[in-house]
Subunit: 379 residues, 2 copies
């Protein structure tokens, strides 16, 4: 089979196999992720030449793992977000000898999906240069709206750059979105007016596309320009649709349900979510409650921020059990192009929430930040 003239994505898989089996496994993935049928049953030369996936290379990585690079025809994706992940990993995700490790996209993919609306530069625009950014989280779900708004006010009085909904906040009876979000937005707005800080509140979007659209409109009516969404729950199409429908709005991706470790985190958070339009990507930092290594986390940050396909950068947001004593080490790890998110660790201060959050904000502001992982390579 020749390499053909069709434009292709190179999907990169890590496959556990033996020297005797890897060639047939690689060919099997190429077929599974394209025509999903025996090639002997295909009599159309154009399909064989331009649609069937093509094994581009197989590299022995040692320890029984091979890198397999497969060319997938761009036209099979229809340049649509859900179909993109369907073609990249769909059925092969069910074969547990595989990891979707990475992908290389041709220009037309970047041009079609477009990436972040405001990106790293936009989110940093009104911040002092050379420092990391900060974020707090409104928890727990179950509190009534008035208590969440009070919590938001006490956070905002300390001037963090962002305050996010817990990802458990949806549209529950105990704090319906349509009551919760205006009340919190008002509390933060009033605090900003009083303090002069520019804290942004991010509500968590939930439900279906119509519901999320209404939630964005409601938030925008309250002056909000930043929202959080969980792409693995919303669906890639829903996520991408909302990003493109709201070109001046920023979106933080939340990692809930990304747990299939069979998509490499550096690819999923650092590239795929960025491609679809995450301005900031929340993920579970090393040394917290989750198992990512420091190397994985820096790879996520590198992919999110490095020059790539002409897209804006996305801000890495390492989280998941972070505490203030980790601030220097995290700034050392990520540099200035990061949002440091401390959730429960600040809430433990209870009545001293504002003071603790203020100490966090000031500690970050005072820390000179080295270049982040994104500066390490030029794409």
């Amino acid at each position: 089979m020749g390499l053909g003239m069709t434009s292709r994505i190179t999907a990169i898989y890590h496959v556990t196999a033996t020297a005797a089996t890897i060639e047939s496994r690689a060919q099997g993935i190429a077929v599974e992720q394209s025509v999903e049928m025996p090639l002997a049953a295909i009599d159309d030369p154009r399909v064989l030449e331009e649609i069937v996936g093509q094994v581009q290379s197989i590299t022995d990585l040692g320890q029984g793992v091979y890198e397999v690079r497969i060319g997938l025809a761009v036209e099979t994706t229809g340049l649509e977000a859900g179909q993109l992940i369907n073609m990249l990993y769909g059925n092969t995700s069910i074969q547990d000898d595989t990891v979707l490790w990475d992908a290389e996209f041709p220009e037309e993919v970047f041009a079609a999906f477009k990436g972040p609306n405001v990106g790293l530069e936009g989110l940093r625009a009104d911040k002092a240069p050379g420092r990391a950014m900060t974020c707090g989280a409104l928890k727990p779900q179950g509190l009534p709206v008035a208590r969440l708004a009070d919590l938001a006010r006490r956070f905002a009085d300390a001037g963090p750059d962002f305050i996010k909904d817990d990802h458990g906040h949806a549209d529950q009876a105990f704090s319906p979105y349509a009551e919760r979000v205006p009340a919190i937005a008002r509390a933060v707005r009033e605090s900003n007016a009083r303090t002069g800080f520019k804290t942004r509140y991010l509500p968590s979007l939930n439900g279906n596309l119509d519901q999320m659209r209404a939630q964005i409109r409601l938030g925008q009516a309250e002056g909000l320009d930043t929202f959080m969404i969980a792409p693995m729950i919303a669906g890639f199409s829903t996520f991408h649709t909302l990003v493109r429908e709201n070109p001046t709005t920023a979106f933080f991706s939340h990692p809930t349900m990304t747990g299939a470790s069979r998509i490499a985190p550096a690819f999923l958070h650092g590239k795929l979510f960025r491609l679809l339009g995450a301005d900031a990507v929340i993920y579970t930092n090393h040394g917290g409650r989750f198992g990512f290594t420091r190397e994985t986390c820096r790879a996520i940050a590198r992919n999110a921020t490095k020059p790539w396909g002409g897209l804006k950068g996305a801000v890495p947001v390492p989280a998941g059990g972070m505490t203030q004593d980790r601030v220097p080490e995290m700034v050392e790890c990520y540099g200035a192009d990061v949002i440091l998110l401390i959730g429960g660790g600040l809430l433990l201060a209870r009545e001293r929430l504002t003071e603790e959050t203020r100490a966090f904000v000031e500690a970050v502001a005072a820390l000179p930040a080295p270049p982040g992982p994104g500066a390490e390579e030029v794409a």
Copy 2:
């Protein structure tokens, strides 16, 4: 902490741990899947009593694996599909010592989500009793519309119960949905009129909620009443919204991107997709290209078809490299309440497609089917 009066879902996890660590891991999951913050930072007694997840039991399953049952407050789900999976597994999916094994739902969950529209009984309604059902697949993607319609006609002439789109068919330039689906629907309709068979064609839905709604309307205008959707790509909210908006329409779920083996297949396909409204659930059968065991496959079929929460049954559709010589064994395994899907295996017949499909349909019709796995237990 008392057990409280709040209505709870029992989420069941399998956790790899040691006797020394399992209690704190179980408590960690209970917190992660509810308030996601240190309990010491919560001063609201109602949240502590009614919202925080509760460890109900821990059972040593041997070999370093424990069953952990956790009561999650129904109200945290907002009775919404996306938020349901967020609360069941969200962040915990990122902790690789866990498997979401199963869940027990209270009545209000069944009442809210409602399950299949037509279900097993509806899909069987116009079939001869006591036989399995049959399905073929239109492949490969990349063929022009006229060739796919011709393929559909030749399939339909053999009278299988269903013909489905390949899950790779989306809305690509080579066969746009709005051209492909009417042409195929017409070919099948005309074949049915000529032969007297009642073959149903299922298009594959793709894109966002608006696009899927338009695709359903377009299909319905062509007389179609059955569609295929991939819940892990569409998003649970999108899937559930479409099911409830189209109460006389049947939906087959497709397993693409379900690969996180950390949700037990018997739960995901057999219960969760059924709860949301899959009338038929396609999954990868044992002995084909995928790794599920016969036991796992029968557990999926058992969950899909057994009496459960007053919901209609969903038809198991084992697939993925099936061939005609496996028909007797598959009917022995699944009984009559199954749709036998052969994709590439039939397409290999090429110019003899109709004859091979006819032989498949007749072989199934002639086979007496034993009771399926769903008959083995009474819920």
